[in-house]
């Protein structure tokens, strides 16, 4: 026995040298397996001989990877001692101890289990791993008739019976493992055995195949896909062998240092051409992606748990719904989008509608659908049509509730880089960083997924941000900013933000973004680290910090987007990066800055003469005849927020209305919006104006969701009301729009009365499902000239008319108003004066009582 140790070691060294000289991983694993087999048998025979025993009633089986003849240099030998009966187990116990000890002494790490034949019939529900490893059983030594009995008589029956259980357990174990690694292959230092795309994925595929008794594997799998999978296994096997040899132990972490070393020797590629670590890692991720995709398709097809009746009914309902629309190309089955007409996918418009459907409804594409798209993309017999993605279509995807459900498969299929080639710069890019856990592209997609998770956040960290995500305006700009915010990391620039901004320039030109859209995204990218830095390095409870930060962000809408971007960006660094502590700090800064904006609206007024570029843009939009002086007169004195709330085109349209005021003192415009209509009204200031407009809208049955009311220095009021048409009056009868405008103008010009309109109109609707308590707050400190009134109350049609009337009855003038709703909650801020001054404390108390009485 004493000679066996050095002999085994010499043979191990020889195998290692051959691997390092270029022998394939497959041959290396076989050689290691043969070496182990040889010694196991030799020692077993020797122990039997010494103890003068025959092997009757005992045999040795190799299990797991060793059973499959894939033994890595420092992996354990999984061995099962199979006994004919409990009695033989007792008799052989000393022999087994001796056998195991000898193997250890020879440098073999043994991981053993003992079972009687009878025990193998029973399924141990708390040890599914053992039964799964048994699927790879291979006879090693001992009583071969005992093995035959197990292999041909005992196990086929019990495995058949236990198949649903084992399948379910395998699904659970695999899903748990994938979840433990964040369901992504893109780790900066991946574990080539356990992380997604690692060798365990391959093992799971083998077991899924065995359990589902499919000789050919996945439904519709092609020979080319099988081949790709086999080469991925070869690449990963080579990497794992290399890691074992380099570490001198069973350590499967592909560290930065070993990435360098693997790249230098072109490990797994075979051409001997040294690469940079980043390039070699791209190869690694390509192979890991192949294996992981293979596994996920298996898991999806072999889902052991059938859908519930409710889920099936839901899916059935969805199918019929889409039959009426674009559904001739796709439908929903088992909660996943499936393609019904493969040939239609050559038209990119259809493909993009499928992604838009996923993003809009939250229904993921099935792996099969993704595969179909992939097939069409690479097969020339189906030449692509309509390949250009316009901004309008992309906006639909990016602005949806679940953009990640579209962007993730688009990235896997290469479509994201087709639309946004700049994103290709960070494809599978490893940037060494102490904090980041994922590659840059993975980090980016995770930011977007963390935002869509806010529909139903998995933990307390997202709780504050739920409403913000639901109500944020122009989500598409936020998502495009996120897609580009780290692209500069793939460029040879000192500061990645500079690179990302350059990428925005090219993307904006190609997608034909408007200058305002580009400027908004630019600002988000430029400031994407600022909110996080302020939270961590500044005293966020210091009003000066808040004021400084607000000045940098410039407006509330941008603050909302920046806050969500920062939340997502920190969250996607690694699972622990966004601690509840940091999330709370971020929220506190957001709240303080948001309040700062709504309380300082009248501080920052426009001096149009200084806004040269703005004047130019408005003049360009306004067309002939507009002079700078005229535009300046119109803009002078509006709160700066007016610029943030309206595009230059809208401002130019307002200016056109302003120019007509000399002909008609009330100018109105009604335009359809995504969720209803927008009413714009310009007129010289007059008492009870806001309440009257709200009253006319209520009289027509319109529900105001959002509004702002501004006045310029010349006392021209510009009010914008966004409302939903509860009875679809305007929607179904476009001619009614003109009648509505005429009615409004007549009431404001005193040609007709408001009261008859409101008579008979039931202003209060049904009892609301959610009750919002009324909250009234006066603030005298935020504005130099006005008293701020903040009201939060239950929203209902006619609410603004009730509030506006109450304010007017108390002699209050509304200088600025910001009206918003959040579900059943109305959130309104009024800047009030009475006889040109702030409200006295007595007036405030009286108003509080009146409003409390009106609003309940």
């Amino acid at each position: 026995m004493s000679v066996l140790g050095p002999q085994a070691e010499a043979e191990r060294q020889k195998i290692r040298q051959q691997f390092e000289a270029g022998t394939s991983a497959r041959e290396t694993l076989l050689a290691l397996c043969d070496l182990a087999d040889h010694h196991v048998r030799q020692i077993f025979d020797e122990v039997l001989r010494v103890q003068d025993r025959e092997p009757e009633g005992l045999c040795l089986l190799a299990l797991g990877g060793y059973g499959r003849r894939m033994l890595f240099p420092y992996s354990d030998l999984d061995i099962l001692f199979l006994f004919g009966s409990e009695r033989t187990e007792q008799e052989f116990r000393p022999l087994i101890s001796e056998f195991s000890r000898t193997l250890w002494d020879l440098g073999f790490r043994v991981s053993s289990a003992g079972r009687t034949l009878e025990e193998c019939k029973r399924i141990e529900e708390d040890n599914a791993e053992f039964h799964l490893a048994l699927l790879d059983r291979r006879f090693l030594a001992g009583d071969s008739t005992l093995f035959e009995k197990l292999d041909e008589k005992v196990l086929p029956g019990s495995e058949k019976q236990a198949r649903p259980f084992l399948l379910a357990q395998l699904h659970k174990l695999t899903r748990d493992r994938l979840t433990r690694y964040g369901n992504t292959i893109f780790h900066l230092e991946p574990n080539v055995k356990d992380s997604p795309g690692g060798m365990r994925d391959y093992q799971a595929i083998i077991w899924l195949r065995q359990l589902s008794e499919e000789k050919k594997g996945i439904r519709n799998i092609t020979a080319a896909e099988e081949e790709l999978c086999a080469s991925a296994v070869d690449f990963l096997s080579a990497t794992r062998c290399f890691l074992h040899y380099s570490n001198g132990r069973n350590d499967n972490t592909l560290t930065y240092e070993l990435q360098e070393a693997a790249a230098a020797r072109a490990l797994g590629i075979g051409d001997g051409v040294a690469r940079t670590a980043a390039d070699w890692m791209r190869q690694y991720f390509r192979q890991a992606r192949t294996l992981n995709r293979h596994l996920l398709r298996y898991l999806e097809q072999k889902a052991p748990v059938p859908l519930t009746l409710r889920q099936r009914l839901f899916s059935a309902a969805r199918v019929s719904k889409y039959d009426a629309g674009d559904s001739k190309y796709f439908h929903i089955r088992d909660g996943l989008l499936e393609v019904t007409d493969l040939s239609a996918l050559s038209d990119r418009t259809v493909t993009y509608s499928l992604f838009a459907e996923a993003a809009g409804t939250g229904t993921p594409l099935s792996r099969e659908a993704e595969r179909s798209i992939g097939y069409v993309l690479i097969h020339p017999e189906l030449p692509p049509k309509n390949t250009e993605m316009c901004w309008e279509k992309l906006r639909e995807i990016l602005g949806s509730d679940y953009p990640g459900l579209a962007l993730r498969p688009m990235q896997r299929l290469g479509l994201l880089t087709e639309i946004l080639p700049e994103f290709g710069l960070i494809d599978s890019l490893v940037v060494r960083d102490f904090y980041h856990r994922y590659t840059v592209d993975e980090h980016t997609l995770r930011t977007i997924e963390h935002l869509q998770e806010l529909a139903d956040p998995p933990d307390e960290r997202g709780a504050h941000f739920i409403q913000l995500w639901k109500t944020v305006d122009r989500r598409d700009l936020l998502i495009l900013a996120l897609l580009l915010h780290d692209v500069g990391k793939g460029m040879p620039v000192g500061n990645h933000v500079t690179g990302s901004l350059a990428a925005l320039d090219s993307a904006a030109k190609r997608l034909r973004l408007s200058p305002e859209e580009k400027a908004e995204i630019r600002s988000l990218i430029e400031h994407h680290l600022e909110m996080s830095a302020t939270v961590q390095r500044r005293d966020i409870f210091d009003p000066a910090t808040v004021a400084g930060f607000a000045e940098s962000v410039t407006n509330l809408e941008r603050l909302q987007r920046l806050c969500l971007l920062t939340y997502a960006d920190i969250h996607a660094v690694n699972p622990e990066a966004l601690t509840p502590w940091k999330a709370e700090m971020l929220w506190q800064l957001f709240v303080a800055t948001s309040n700062y904006f709504s309380r300082t609206l009248d501080r920052d007024r426009l001096h149009a003469h200084d806004e040269v570029s703005l004047l130019g843009r408005i003049k360009a939009c306004a067309g002939d005849g507009a002079s700078n002086e005229e535009i300046e007169r119109f803009l002078d004195g509006f709160p700066r927020r007016y610029l943030a709330a309206h595009s230059p085109q809208e401002i130019a349209a307002h200016f056109s209305l302003y120019r007509k005021l000399s002909e008609e003192p009330v100018q109105t415009q009604v335009t359809p919006t995504q969720h209803g209509f927008a009413l714009t009204l310009l007129t010289p200031d007059r008492p009870v104006l806001f309440a009257t407009i709200s009253g006319v809208l209520a009289g027509w049955g319109m529900n105001i969701n959002k509004a702002d009311a501004f006045a310029n220095a010349a006392g021209i009021i510009l009010d914008t009301f966004y409302f939903t048409d509860l009875h679809r009056t305007l929607e179904l009868n476009p001619s009614e729009i003109a009648r509505f405008r005429k009615c409004l103008e007549d009431v404001l010009n005193g040609k007709s009365a408001l009261e008859p309109l409101l008579k008979g109109r039931v202003i209060r609707g049904r009892t609301p499902k959610v009750t919002v308590p009324t909250h009234i707050n006066f603030d005298d400190s935020s504005s130099a000239h006005c008293t701020l009134l903040e009201i939060v109350t239950q929203d209902h049609p006619g609410l603004l008319y009730e509030m506006g009337s109450a304010l007017a009855r108390q002699g209050c003038n509304i200088e600025v108003a910001l009206i918003d709703t959040e579900g059943h909650k109305a959130i309104d801020v009024f800047y009030l004066t009475a006889q040109g001054k702030k409200l006295t404390p007595q007036k405030q108390e009286l108003l509080r009582e009146v409003l409390q009485g009106t609003l309940g």
Partner: protein, 112 residues
């Protein structure tokens, strides 16, 4: 040996860390904590909902120091963490009987 625990403003953490590094202190344990002493919290109202911050965010630094370094470290923290306002934090010192490096079982100041 002395164990030093310092509760400081999060906004001062980077400065404190840099100042400690300059005098040769590399090792420390940092924890995100919440609490309050004389500095009370405050309430912000956002969209009708009150957000009361009665436990303010702070950073807790912990380190065990050889006796000869204690005064220097305390001075450094005082200088770099001070803003002069309520809420700047506190430093606590306590004696440590023994330190053991797990890797090689070194003991005493050698283990620090």
């Amino acid at each position: 040996m002395v164990k030093l625990e310092a509760i400081i403003q999060p906004s001062r953490f980077e400065s404190v860390k840099d100042a400690l590094r300059e005098i040769g202190v590399e090792g420390m344990t940092v924890t995100e904590v919440r609490g309050h002493g004389r500095q009370k919290g405050h309430t912000e109202v956002y969209r009708g909902r009150e957000y009361t911050v009665d436990l303010l965010p702070k950073i807790k630094l912990e380190m065990v120091l050889p006796d000869n370094l204690v005064n220097r470290v305390v001075d450094t923290i005082l200088k770099s963490a001070k803003t002069g306002k309520i809420g700047d934090g506190k430093i606590f010192l306590s004696r440590v009987d023994e330190a053991i490096r797990i890797r090689n079982e070194e003991r005493g100041e050698n283990a620090l």
